[in-house]
Symmetry: C2
Subunit: 210 residues, 2 copies
């Protein structure tokens, strides 16, 4: 029974890691679609989000099945409950990438981001993808230390958001661009917050008596 349980947990972790790769790919492509005004890529990101949503439901049901059949306690129980939190954060990260792709698709053929602000948006994308990569490693290695590092990197995202908002405030952009950049900045920041929340769930899981 113990072996079966740990095999199940391993399978669930592999699904969570696969889901993390999907939301990384979604964010990377959404940013490309936006910065290069590429509606085909934007549409792909939007339609691929249903796969991410379906994977979340699959992982949820898998975890519920293991909870019901194996009735784990202590650290094993916490690991499963952490999985229920993590797949929800990943689903939201997918939604946020989709929102960015939706803005890109709406704006086509206009480019959403003015040339002088593409640098900040590139940096936000890079920070977002890096945080997602670390969240993935936290899941893969059940790494508590990794979780602490994410908090620091999230501060960088907050600085980038503040810089973006300062640029918007000091600009004479048209209202539509200002509104879209405000939302875009928020989407990258929230994506990063969810990556940090995943690391927190890993910390919650490993902090419990095993």
């Amino acid at each position: 029974m113990r072996t079966t349980f740990h095999q199940e947990l391993e399978t669930i972790d592999q699904k969570l890691i696969g889901m993390t790769q999907l939301v990384q790919s979604a964010m990377g492509r959404a940013t490309t679609a936006m910065l290069e005004a590429d509606p085909t890529t934007a549409d792909e990101v939007i339609s691929d989000d249903t796969t991410i949503d379906a994977l979340r439901r699959e992982i949820d049901e898998h975890i519920l099945r293991v909870l019901a059949t194996q009735q784990p306690v202590a650290g094993d129980l916490r690991a499963l409950v952490a999985g229920l939190r993590i797949d929800r954060d990943l689903e939201r990260m997918g939604d946020l990438a989709r929102h960015i792709a939706e803005i890109a698709a709406d704006d086509f053929p206009r480019a959403t981001v003015p040339l002088e602000l593409t640098g900040i948006v590139h940096s936000m994308n890079r920070a977002a993808l890096h945080l997602a990569e670390q969240a993935k490693e936290a899941i893969a290695f059940r790494d508590k230390e990794c979780a602490a590092e994410l908090d620091r990197e999230d501060d960088e995202m907050d600085s980038l958001l503040a810089a973006l908002y300062r640029e918007v405030l000091a600009s004479d952009l048209d209202m539509r661009t200002a509104l879209e950049l405000t939302l875009l900045g928020r989407y990258y920041e929230r994506y990063a917050d969810h990556a940090v929340a995943i690391a927190d769930s890993v910390r919650f899981e490993t902090g419990a008596p095993a």
Copy 2:
């Protein structure tokens, strides 16, 4: 053992209902603080958010304890897992109310919302509080039908957000007000989305074989 389990579940539901009341109060007061440029109320909402966060941790631990000691299956298991989702949505609703209070506090003595847009913001607040009220009833009565009604009311929130954004786009507001209104609109909308997610969790819970 069954009686104990259902007593525990009842206690958890009461805590979730209490937490819903706190996030309703937070949103109502945050809106007042913003529309009336009242920094004292804004500061109260900001500091009260720690109570909401603490309550979430308490409910999480309570649910984990019941999962570990009672090892429920089927509908009972789903009810507890739903509780873990609901308290997270409620925590986020508290955060969103706090974000609105933070904008109000930052702007003082300036009023954030221009007079001609207070009507829409009032309506968004009313819709948000009404959705939270229905989420509370969904929890209290484990009411699946209530959940379907929330979806419809959330459409009203989406229309209000679209109306707010149309007004911002057509305006010649200063950049700071435009940026803040964009975020504010998004905060009300997300608050409403989390209320709908709570109803979805109730639906998930009651839809399972009991």
